[in-house]
């Protein structure tokens, strides 16, 4: 017998994610992979290709399009899907608005919350029973209590009290009709792990993640981008700074941070030094209230 060696931290995380992806696919009739074009879902797609190799990825990619996306994210999404001939299903929040299932307080309001409605409609329309997502437990407090296989009832709701005990690495994926699972293969990854993996595996990301010159204005502690949806308010002054985005959600509430980091390795180095957690730095809707994420999850959010 050869003397055992120790798997590296990233090798162990990669192997675990592949194991979870295979468990999900094997226990599901109609899985889909939630692909937002963000870094976590880019890592997830990369891992899914490894998990099912040498077979092709037979799981469709599902994008919930808020209509408030940065252009760079949409073109990245289309490029990824095209290059591997993946099946890409797009569900539009605009359509939920048109049919009245989403009512926004104002036309320019953040659509992050509305995604849940559109997602549930897509689940119903396509009959998905397992949705693979890139969420991590280190993102915030409500996520810290999330299962790897997270059960959603027939209303699509997450009820923290009725989550199944998750023992060892034996995942019970049994469902009744109309229920579904959200499965999170990256549960045990931290933001540092994600960036380390992106560096090691040379995973492509939308340009927004890397330092670029952009017109921004100051709004409290945050820099907000000047975009067609978020024009410069009266009395504010735009500045052109070198910035990058740490998350790439709804354009109306996603803010960049000042940075010169122009590649993944430089971002990894900055992230190691950073003192603000990811959502805190860049997501205005989570700032509103510490329990924001918990409420959104209960409503069926990812």
């Amino acid at each position: 017998m050869t003397h055992a060696w120790r798997l590296s931290h990233l090798d162990r995380l990669e192997s675990e994610a592949i194991y979870i992806l295979r468990e999900a696919a094997a226990q599901s009739e109609r899985p889909a992979l939630l692909f937002s074009g963000g870094k976590d879902s880019a890592v997830l797609v990369h891992l899914a290709r490894k998990a099912f190799y040498p077979e092709k990825l037979s799981i469709p990619l599902l994008h919930i399009d808020t209509g408030h996306n940065f252009e760079e994210v949409i073109s990245f999404r289309d490029k990824v899907a095209r290059s591997f001939q993946d099946q890409l299903i797009i569900a539009y929040v605009e359509e939920s608005i048109a049919c009245g299932s989403v009512r926004l307080p104002s036309p320019m309001a953040s659509r992050n919350g509305a995604q849940a409605v559109t997602l549930l409609e897509a689940i119903k329309q396509y009959g998905f029973d397992m949705l693979l997502g890139g969420a991590r437990r280190d993102e915030d407090k409500a996520r810290a209590k999330e299962r790897v296989f997270s059960h959603r009832d027939t209303f699509g709701a997450w009820t923290p009290k009725s989550q199944r005990p998750e023992l060892w690495d034996i995942y019970n994926g049994r469902l009744h009709a109309g229920e579904n699972f959200r499965v999170f293969p990256l549960s045990n990854w931290t933001e540092i792990d994600i960036w380390s993996y992106i560096v090691c595996e040379q995973i492509a990301l939308p340009d927004l993640y890397f330092a670029h010159k952009r017109a921004v204005f100051k709004d409290g502690p945050l820099w907000r981008p000047v975009t067609p949806l978020t024009p410069l308010p009266l009395g504010k002054k735009a500045e052109t700074l070198s910035v990058r985005f740490r998350t790439v959600g709804d354009m109306t509430c996603t803010c960049p941070v000042e940075s010169e980091a122009s590649d993944a390795a430089a971002i990894l180095a900055e992230t190691r030094l950073c003192t603000l957690s990811e959502r805190g730095a860049t997501r205005m809707d989570d700032k509103v209230n510490d329990a924001a994420m918990e409420r959104r999850k209960k409503e069926g959010y990812f």
């Binding site: 050869t2 590296s8 990233l10 194991y19 468990e23 190799y53 409500a142 023992l167 060892w168």
Partner: protein, 422 residues
């Protein structure tokens, strides 16, 4: 991929309400610099904070959900991550009151070490709480190494004689349970003394601080030295374009090692063949070990489906096992109810033949003859499975020796099981 820490320590924390569990976890995260500044801010902002004005309530950090905070209780297992110079850590916080056993078993099944907290100021004449016995028992049954953290030492003025009394009781408890190797460490979670740093510890204590004890643990390579076990997750039929000449078997090695040419058997059918190829997306390997996700190809075609387990030739199978069972569901066991047992990726109908005994948590005695199992019961049972399962004992192979029971009608995971013998 060698840039990150490779040593991984997973520990679950257990303690009575108010023993200081949340404070301890907050302290570890804070002192090991794992807290980010906006998280510290949210502790300061806490609307339902319990700390005196001006002092940061570290406990608040771990009480995650809004509904939990409003009710002042925590209801679910939480996972947190931090890294020191020496290791990466996963902290598993298993709170709860009535649900305690359910949460602790869940948390413990994903941990290697249990940090069991006791409040030194509330132990008189060495009388331990029932909960402490329960925590130690669960940790032991689930095969964890136990570290007792004796907290609130400041409230007893770091009295050596008082500590020695507590220590003697903990050692006695461990002996009763048949545990030889334990660590005991006195701490003050609120100030952080002897948690991450050794500060302000009297000279009678010469041992390491809590974090040092945790950093010394290492379970990572243990499974590679056990016999080969490979639960098949899925069968690979195409090579990406057309039907492949040979089928592949995708899975993660649960235990042991495998190299090209090694003989493997399908445990339940006793068909054997040799390894022809070990493949991953990145490369073709000549050798792989526990923890690696791979695809295996054998020289001869075997009749294999998901749920089969490829093993070294020494594996035994059985339909009858004696096992420790932790009943987790709020619906008690019912003889007529149909259940499924899952071991690795295999599922089979199962029946509980006899409840040999249920443990009494007060004196740890074994109550015989009671043919009932309710939530939080820890019992020894005899099970009969429809299809044979692998007869690995949990004590020697915690990967295949573990199983869960599922209620066929509710789909709930109702019990955690550990094979004793067969």
């Amino acid at each position: 991929m060698s840039m990150s820490q490779s040593k991984l320590v997973r520990f679950v924390t257990a303690g009575n309400v108010d023993d200081g569990k949340s404070t301890l976890i907050g302290r570890i995260l804070h002192d090991s610099k794992a807290l980010l500044s906006d998280q510290v801010q949210s502790i300061v902002n806490a609307r339902f904070g319990r700390a005196d004005a001006g002092e940061m309530d570290l406990a608040f950090l771990t009480d995650g959900l809004e509904s939990e905070r409003e009710q002042g209780i925590t209801i679910d297992v939480a996972y947190r991550y931090f890294t020191t110079q020496r290791a990466s850590f996963i902290v598993i916080d298993a709170p709860g009151h009535e649900q305690y056993t359910r949460n602790m078993v869940t948390g413990a099944s994903n941990a290697d070490i249990a940090v069991v907290l006791v409040d030194a100021s509330r132990i008189h004449q060495g009388h331990l709480k029932v909960q402490t016995r329960r925590h130690a028992t669960i940790a032991h049954i689930l095969g964890l190494k136990i570290v007792f953290a004796v907290n609130k030492m400041d409230l007893i003025d770091w009295s050596h004689s008082h500590y020695q009394q507590v220590e003697a009781s903990l050692i006695r408890l461990s002996r009763t349970l048949g545990i030889e190797d334990i660590d005991i460490v006195p701490i003050n979670a609120r100030s952080g003394d002897n948690v991450v740093h050794q500060s302000a510890v009297p000279s009678w204590y010469q041992g390491p601080c809590l974090l040092q004890i945790l950093e010394q643990q290492d379970k990572a390579t243990d499974f590679a030295d056990l016999p080969f076990r490979f639960p098949v997750q899925r069968v690979v039929r195409t090579n990406g374009h057309t039907l492949a000449a040979k089928r592949g078997y995708a899975g993660r090695i649960a235990s042991g090692q495998i190299r090209l040419g090694d003989e493997v058997c399908v445990a339940t059918s006793q068909q054997c063949s040799r390894i022809a190829k070990i493949e991953t997306y990145d490369q073709i390997l000549t050798h792989a070990q526990a923890g690696q996700s791979i695809t295996l190809y054998t020289q001869d075609d075997l009749d294999i489906a998901r749920g089969d387990c490829l093993t070294s030739s020494d594996a035994r199978v059985t339909n009858l096992v004696v096992a420790d069972l932790c009943w987790l569901d709020d619906q008690a066991w019912q003889d007529q109810q149909r259940y499924i047992l899952r071991q690795g990726t295999a599922s089979t109908p199962v029946r509980i033949q006899t409840v040999l005994h249920v443990r009494d948590m007060h004196d740890l005695s074994q109550v015989r003859g009671e043919q009932a199992l309710a939530q939080n019961d820890i019992a020894l049972v005899k099970l009969q499975t429809q299809s044979p399962i692998i007869a690995d004992e949990f004590a020697t192979n915690p990967k295949l020796g573990a199983f869960i029971l599922i209620n066929v009608d509710t789909n709930q995971t109702v019990a955690a099981g550990m094979i004793r013998n067969s």
